[in-house]
């Protein structure tokens, strides 16, 4: 890779204090985001994808402790900055965030216009009227009808889809370099979801944004991502370009994720599924966290966590199956068929 790396996270490790005890939510996460590209962070709930991104944006809750790790933004370690510096220099202007639930992420007592202009007035030398004009423009950009009227509205007067557009407009208001979208469409209908995703992609092209998506929906990932990181139990277990993940996945968990969602041609009687449920990180597992649900678990999985095995320059996965001494396994039939079909459809 010779693109400029705009964001890199190294060995991030985070614990949460909860009533039940310490939860080791992030257990050593590394990834890089090349400028102008889109990275998708995939995983199910509790896998730590949102926490990782909150750490990047400096928005971790009070009960979280960062035990170790570095987050470099353009060479600057964000974790060493004070909260004040972080808010003043990074949040909004460099890194902006779109939250999952559009119903709760807007201040109910403030007009839409005021919420959009707030960041601009804070960070940029801009007059109130100019900011207001820009807010109208932003609302037009995110495809909200009657933007002049909308700026005077309060959040409760808009629908969910409209609110999510407002949240995106807020995120874009200070022309950030990185946009983090935390499940931006799960709360929305499929037809609106497709439009919001298109919108973000168009804006990305226009403004040269780097985007990080947090999602569990592989359809969304296929649509938007350049790079994919799959998370499980607080770790990244497979990372690669979108083609590598979708056409040549190596981790049994990724297989499960891919196959759990039937494509429109799936005809098999049974879906390939991952048995069991994700581990509770209150009791940190010994060895590979996925071993208990892995059909191909080996004895070493119960003792030792697998390192990231490199498959190509961009592709790596954390499973002992990739160890040179591991027995060769045959891909499950459903998976083989599915991958063949996918490659064929993609003319690969």
């Amino acid at each position: 890779m010779n693109e400029k790396i705009i964001l890199s996270v190294e060995n991030l490790d985070i614990t949460f204090r909860t009533n039940a005890g310490l939860v080791h939510a992030i257990r050593g996460v590394d990834f890089e985001l090349p400028a102008g590209k889109t990275l998708a962070l995939v995983g199910e709930s509790g896998s730590g994808k949102s926490v990782t991104m909150k750490a990047v944006a400096g928005l971790l809750d009070d009960n979280a402790t960062v035990n170790s790790g570095k987050i470099f933004y353009n060479g600057l370690d964000l974790l060493t900055l004070s909260k004040r510096d972080l808010r003043k220099k990074i949040n909004g202007q460099q890194i902006a965030m779109v939250f999952q639930d559009p119903m709760t992420s807007l201040d109910p007592t403030m007009t839409i216009g005021a919420q959009i202009t707030e960041g601009m007035l804070l960070h940029q030398k801009i007059s109130a009227t100019d900011a207001k004009d820009k807010a109208v423009e932003l609302l037009k950009l995110v495809g909200l009808n009657e933007p002049e009227k909308r700026v005077k509205n309060y959040p409760h007067q808009l629908s969910g889809g409209q609110r999510q557009r407002v949240v995106i407009a807020i995120a874009l208001s200070c022309e950030p370099k990185i946009l983090i979208c935390d499940e931006p469409t799960t709360a929305l209908d499929v037809t609106i979801q497709a439009r919001i995703l298109d919108l973000i992609q168009d804006l990305q092209k226009k403004m040269g944004l780097s985007v990080i998506y947090i999602t569990h929906d592989l359809g969304v990932v296929a649509k938007v991502a350049d790079f994919v990181n799959v998370m499980y139990a607080g770790k990244i277990i497979e990372a690669g370009t979108v083609d590598e993940i979708f056409y040549d996945p190596r981790h049994p968990y990724t297989w499960g994720l891919l196959l759990a969602m039937p494509d429109l041609d799936t005809t098999e009687d049974r879906l390939y599924s991952i048995p069991g449920s994700p581990p509770n990180l209150l009791h940190e597992p010994i060895g590979d966290a996925f071993a208990a649900r892995n059909r191909f678990a080996m004895k070493i999985d119960e003792r030792e966590q697998p390192p990231m095995f490199k498959i190509s320059e961009t592709h790596s996965a954390a499973t002992w199956l990739l160890h040179p001494d591991a027995p060769k396994i045959e891909l499950p039939r459903e998976l083989r068929l599915r991958l063949e079909r996918a490659r064929k459809a993609a003319n690969l």
Partner: protein, 329 residues
């Protein structure tokens, strides 16, 4: 990569694990509900302190009047020849001078201006106050809970009418209600309990109605209906057990209110009548003598403050243990 680099020592490292039944999912998440509540409650030092305070006072209130030397009505006085005499109660033929004794070996809290043992009277008063509070709040809980559950569950017109009634009843200040009751009833324990009954159930019913409205749309209630369960079964078997938590919290906050109301009514002179005594009437007696014999007011006031503190701490502890979200992730 070679084995030594990865630190692998066992020969069977790369054998598949055999003999697992992956189809039976044995993973489980957290501990049971009440156990979680209990653990959380016990971890709260203030709440535990509240339990201890309340337990100690209740113990004294139950035992002290039984084991103490003097009855709560007994008057200790010195007769003409300087000997101590004890009378069962205020008797006309009683001759002698009532003592105002400050604390000594026989009278731990001293005596009141009539020469009655304050130690016995304080604990007896605490017993009366606690009894009033428990009885009143227990009845309130039953009334309020049924009212709220019925109103919330049936909804529609039933709810509308029942809520209008509560709205109006809730808009009458407690003081006005008490004054009307005072017209109908004689002063004493009955009046105090009646006053508590008329006012305190409203809060309970509001809570159980709110809970019921929330719970009746829960899918497990719908599931019960699709299985053919009747309204009675749903209200009492499905909804009620889930409202217990908030109701207990409310009870814990209502008991100190009841104790306070009793104390307040007795203090202003419409509560407990002599020679009966309660915390409130003891405070009133102490207040009347405060400039002359200030020690008399201390025991009842301390017991009152400790009781209210204790119950409030327990209530707080319950509330936090039941809704741990503030401190959670």
């Amino acid at each position: 990569m070679r084995n030594e680099e990865l630190g692998i020592r066992n020969a069977d490292d790369f054998e598949f694990i055999a003999g697992r039944d992956l189809n039976v999912d044995l993973n489980f998440a957290s501990q049971g509900y009440w156990k979680g509540v209990a653990v959380h409650f016990c971890r709260n030092k203030l709440a535990v302190a509240g339990v201890i305070i309340v337990a100690v006072i209740m113990l004294f209130a139950i035992l002290a009047p039984i084991v103490s030397t003097y009855g709560y009505q007994e008057i200790v006085a010195v007769n003409v020849d300087g000997k101590q005499i004890v009378a069962k109660s205020l008797e006309p033929q009683f001759a002698g001078e009532a003592q105002n004794l400050f604390a000594d070996k026989t009278f731990l809290f001293g005596t009141d201006d009539m020469g009655r043992d304050l130690w016995t009277r304080t604990w007896f008063g605490a017993r009366v106050s606690l009894l009033i509070a428990f009885v009143a709040i227990f009845i309130d809980m039953i009334i309020g809970m049924s009212y709220g559950l019925i109103s919330g569950y049936f909804g529609g017109h039933v709810d509308n009418i029942m809520q209008r009634f509560i709205e109006i009843a809730g808009s009458i200040p407690t003081l006005v209600i008490i004054s009307i009751l005072a017209i109908f009833m004689d002063k004493g324990i009955g009046l105090v309990i009646a006053a508590l009954l008329v006012t305190e159930w409203i809060g309970m019913s509001k809570i159980s109605r709110a809970e019921c409205l929330k719970l009746k749309e829960r899918e497990y209630v719908l599931a019960s209906r699709t299985l053919g369960a009747g309204s009675f079964h749903i209200i009492f078997k499905q909804i009620l057990p889930n409202t217990i938590g908030p109701i207990i919290t409310q009870v814990m906050f209502s008991i100190p209110v009841a104790i306070f109301t009793e104390a307040f009514l007795s203090f202003v002179g419409v509560g407990i009548v002599l020679p009966q005594c309660s915390i409130g009437s003891l405070i009133e007696a102490g207040f009347n003598n405060i400039t002359v014999l200030p020690y008399q007011i201390l025991p009842p006031i301390c017991v009152l403050a400790l009781l209210m503190l204790g119950f409030n701490l327990i209530g707080d502890g319950f509330r936090e243990a039941l809704a741990p979200k503030i401190e959670n992730m």
